[in-house]
Amino acid sequence: MSDISKDQVKHVAHLARLAITEEEAEKLTDELGAIIDYANQLNELDTTDIEPTTHDQNVKNVLRKDEPRKWITKEEALKNAPDQENGQFKVPSILE
């Protein structure tokens, strides 16, 4: 039994913004199928009324005053950018 089809794998790859070849899609279908199959053992446990743990500590909202602080400059922020123009990050066109 495989819990994930090749079409689903391609859909998930799109959601994850990953380009995969037909060959990779096939391999991932098998691999993810095996991992999901393994994960299905969790269904042996009855978890009705069990609260999900999202975080180990009792984290609460942390508030602070909205005051400007010094951080990196614009030039520094652009230092590692693959492409830039006029002090901004440059990307390929969004519309075809």
Binding site: R17, I35, L42, L45, D56, P82
Partner: protein, 488 residues
């Protein structure tokens, strides 16, 4: 004998007495790196010029009361360092020459005058248990270079074991400090979740990640953790609780200590030589006046499945930031933005990283969220409750760190689930958020180290250190050194 066979405390004394200089310490690092790193391959980037300059400056200072004055440290390459390339072991960040700021832990080491020697190899984005997922090179185990050093902090453990640095920092999401520490015969601590600021640690799974020290002995480990612990306003998940002096907890007294030994940690999947070493360790504790009993952590067997769903889900969100816009590599083969995202990520990420992003994206996707992500979170609650219950009656939980000693390079890389199962004894600790340490407790028939894992209550690193230290003082496993490139 290397200077790094001494404890930080001893080296501090030697510096104080002018028997040695910081330059000697820094030379010890770079000489050893030149001698053995061709074999070990623990380092990705060296910071030699700065380190030597800093050594000279420190040797000329008169105030020397910092806790890590002049001590050479290596930093895992997922902890950002201003002006020093930080790659996370990924081709995606191969050109990330300047992260622009220092992680909080790096600032803290700097304030105590530790000297950064360089950046250490790791499985790409900390995903892996063998260092074979580093996209640059696999680090090798200093005890036998045909074997893996463990992962993902393989460079952190191997560099300390090989005597290339006095100590290092690693990160641990499912065992990534403790497992390589066990494989390399050094001391590795994963503190309580929230104990150490994660600001500047490139996030893998934010609800599980913790930074911790790798050292050659427990006392050094306690000292380093003292330096890097504490609340940080830059990480709102860092806990606002008092940081005790861990070094003062090392009393060598474990009389009456109550030890729980989960039967699931000594089950059939655990190698007999590992079981034997753990049983011998328990005898040592008995002789020191501690008591142990067998207990059950009934949900342990579900930890790996729960972990891979949760960690991968969090990773799929965290790694969305690698889009080829602001830093890292950009594919040159795309002519619109979405393709640019897709192709940059596909070209920049390795296989395991893509697989986990895919798994996480699937577990979080519409229609599967409840069945996988939420279910895994509920099972996490059950695993946490197992520990809560045991800690009502016992001070520490003890078992092996790993089911087997280090395995051969290439042995498990094609068998995903076997590779994942390797972390079965360390993962529950991250899911529960409690602290855990690995200390050397023996050697396998073929001479590879075995690690003893000691797990404590939330924010009770003191008891974990006291327990680990008492064992270390009663045994000599931690004094053994690998014979890499000749005796040192």
């Amino acid at each position: 004998m290397s200077l790094f066979d001494h404890s930080i405390k001893d080296l501090e004394q030697k510096l104080h007495n002018n028997e040695i200089t910081v330059e000697d310490l820094v030379n010890t690092s770079y000489d050893r790196i030149k001698e053995v790193d061709d074999q070990v391959k623990a380092f990705l980037t060296l910071d030699e010029e700065n380190a030597r300059k800093q050594a000279k400056e420190l040797d000329n200072t008169s105030t020397r009361d910092n806790k890590l004055f002049g001590m050479p440290v290596g930093i895992k390459d997922n902890i950002v360092t201003k002006g020093l390339r930080t790659t996370c072991g990924s081709q995606f960040l191969r050109n990330f020459e300047d992260p622009l700021y220092d992680a909080t832990v790096v600032n803290k080491l700097d304030n105590e005058k530790a000297v950064n020697i360089g950046k250490l190899n790791m499985d790409e984005f900390a995903m892996g248990s063998s260092n074979e997922n580093s996209s640059f090179q696999p680090t090798r185990n200093p005890w036998n270079t045909d074997y893996v050093p463990g992962g993902s902090s393989g460079g952190s453990a191997a560099s300390v074991a090989a005597g290339e640095v006095l100590f290092s920092l690693g990160s641990d999401t499912g065992g990534s400090i403790r497992q390589p520490a066990a494989f390399c015969g050094v001391v590795g601590m994963k503190p309580t979740y929230g104990r150490v600021s994660r600001f500047g640690l490139v996030a893998f799974a934010s609800s599980l990640d913790q930074i911790g020290p790798v050292t050659r002995n427990v006392e050094d480990n306690a000292r380093v953790l003292e330096v890097i612990s504490g609340h940080d306003e830059m990480d709102s998940t860092s806990a606002d609780v008092e940081v005790p002096k861990y070094t003062e907890a090392l009393t060598n007294d474990v009389k009456g200590l109550k030890i729980a030994v989960p039967k699931e940690y000594l089950s059939e999947g655990v190698a007999s030589e590992v079981k034997e070493s753990v049983m011998n360790a328990l005898k040592v504790y008995e002789s020191l006046g501690a008591e142990w009993e067998e207990v059950s952590l009934p949900h342990s067997k579900y930890a790996v499945a729960s972990y891979y769903l949760l960690a991968s889900s969090e990773a799929s969100a965290n790694l969305a930031r690698f889009d080829g816009v602001r830093y890292g590599v950009r594919s040159e083969n795309a002519d619109n933005m979405v393709d640019m995202f897709k192709m940059s990520r596909s070209e920049g990420f390795g296989e395991e990283v893509k697989r986990r992003i895919m798994l996480g994206t699937f577990a979080l996707s519409s229609g599967y969220y409840d069945a996988y992500y939420k279910k895994a979170q509920q099972v996490r609650t059950l695993i946490k409750q197992d520990f809560d219950k045991i800690f009502e009656q016992y001070d520490v939980v003890i078992g092996p760190t790993t089911p087997t000693p280090a395995f051969k390079i290439g042995e498990k890389i094609n068998d995903l689930l076997t590779m994942y199962a390797n972390d079965i004894l360390t993962i529950p600790v991250n899911l529960a958020g409690v602290p855990g340490i690995s200390v050397p407790c023996g050697f396998s028939e073929n001479g590879l180290p075995i690690g003893l894992q000691i797990i404590g209550k939330h924010f009770d690193e003191n008891t974990v250190y006291r327990t680990a230290h008492a064992f270390e003082q009663a045994t000599d496993y931690h004094t053994k050194r690998p014979q890499l490139g000749g005796a040192q």
